[in-house]
């Protein structure tokens, strides 16, 4: 499998936070979801990929090329959508677009107009008068108009209504009908990714918890809920997070099938959603 992004041993230190030994690949032709609670390091990873901040160690390859040594070449193939789109506030959309188009060889003005039409935006609108959702749409139209091979989106669905979120996800699915196009999409809204992502990378406190095919995760991980006098955490295989309450013990396991083999009354076994996984890993303590 060819990779659009290869990240090896990436490290970035801030006061009180360190992204450490981050290693994962994003296969070409797929949608990778980067999930984790706020402050886990998602945006830091995306900024390092874009070389917007200086890394302390590690390597990033985009389309097989080093992202620093071949910066101009790789960036022209990336469409980047920020969580809060930043463009000159007082300009019309067409003016912003014609300024941006100069940076891209593959800018397609016809396609850009079609996208604006599709998103019900007019080229004559002034940027600052757009709602947050419309700004996101404009930003996405810009990213798609230069035929980018890799679309990077940092929390694109935060603060958007469900209708637009669904529209965006459908657009991304349509994009990868072309097997050469790749999407890396960070979000703390796991339901968006649960539906659309092919792969999931989960990051917590600056470290990768897992990076795998979404189906594989959703099929193997589970939540075991048992009475306080029932199973003990040490009896359960693959424990990744524990939550205790007065009446019950809840355990996130990465091996639901093996856990189901345990015979015990008053215990229920459920599949884990991405939200469950995020919740138990960030709130639960695996060693409690």
């Amino acid at each position: 499998m060819d990779h659009a992004i290869e990240i090896m041993g990436l490290r970035k230190e801030y006061r009180g936070f360190a992204l450490d030994n981050v290693t994962f690949d994003v296969p070409q032709g797929y949608i990778m979801g980067l999930i984790g609670p706020n402050g886990a390091g998602k945006t830091t990873i995306i900024k390092l990929v874009m070389n917007l901040i200086r890394r302390d160690a590690g390597e990033v390859r985009l389309f097989g090329l080093d992202n620093l040594r071949s910066e101009a070449a790789v960036k022209s193939r990336i469409g980047f959508v920020y969580d809060i789109p930043r463009f000159p506030e007082d300009l019309r959309l067409q003016t912003i677009a014609s300024a941006i188009s100069a940076f891209y060889d593959k800018w397609d003005d016809g396609r850009f107009r079609d996208l604006l039409d599709e998103f019900r935006l007019s080229p004559r609108q002034v940027f600052k008068k757009l709602s947050h959702g419309m700004k996101m749409k404009f930003s996405l139209a810009v990213a798609l108009a230069h035929d980018a091979d890799l679309i990077l989106l940092d929390e694109p669905t935060a603060g958007l209504d469900p209708v637009f979120r669904l529209e965006l996800l459908t657009k991304l699915r349509a994009l990868i009908q072309n097997e050469r196009k790749t999407v890396l999409f960070s979000s703390h809204i796991t339901s968006d990714l649960e539906r659309v992502a092919d792969f999931i990378t989960f990051i917590h406190k600056g470290r990768i918890v897992f990076s795998a095919a979404k189906d594989e995760i959703l099929e193997t991980w589970g939540v075991v809920r048992t009475a306080v006098d029932g199973l003990k955490p040490e009896d359960i295989p693959g424990v990744r997070g524990i939550r205790r309450s007065e009446h019950s013990l809840e355990v996130l396991t990465s091996d639901l099938a093996a856990a189901k083999g345990l015979l015990c009354g008053r215990t229920v076994f459920d599949k884990a959603s991405l939200e469950d996984i995020m919740f138990y890993i960030s709130k639960g303590n695996a060693h409690a």
Binding site: Y30, T170, A213, D215
Partner: protein, 125 residues
């Protein structure tokens, strides 16, 4: 091809897709040689992962229901009529094996099971 995915079903989505395609091939709704939507197209239509549809097609191919031609797509495999009947029989057999296992677990006798089957088949009222 008609496929409906349930998000609340305990069955994995690739199995839901596979089962429905299989049923449509067995019933003749999908005919021999008929082209199936591409893996990516189907994923987009159902709004599911490409990996899910790929896995569903791979399983169908392994079981001989479809053929995939590199660069051309996937097609309903030429079905030997007898083989098809055998496959259908096998499906029924699997379900019966499940029922027998359950029955054993509950201590239901062979005679009781026979009676149930006769009742279900409509031989008695």
């Amino acid at each position: 091809m008609r496929i409906i995915i349930s998000n609340s079903s305990p069955d994995p989505i690739y199995e839901q897709v596979g089962r429905q395609v299989k049923a449509q091939i067995i019933s003749g709704e999908l005919r021999e040689g008929e082209a199936l939507p591409s893996i990516r197209k189907l994923a987009q239509e159902l709004q599911i992962s490409v990996i899910t549809t790929k896995r569903a097609y791979e399983e169908l191919e392994k079981e001989g229901f479809i053929d995939t031609v590199e660069g051309k797509g996937s097609f309903v495999a030429m079905q030997n009529k007898e083989l098809l009947r055998e496959k259908k029989m096998k499906l029924v057999e699997e379900k019966m094996a499940e029922a027998v296992d359950e029955a054993r677990l509950l201590g239901i006798t062979r005679a009781e099971l026979d009676e149930m089957l006769a009742l279900l088949y409509g031989e008695k009222d």
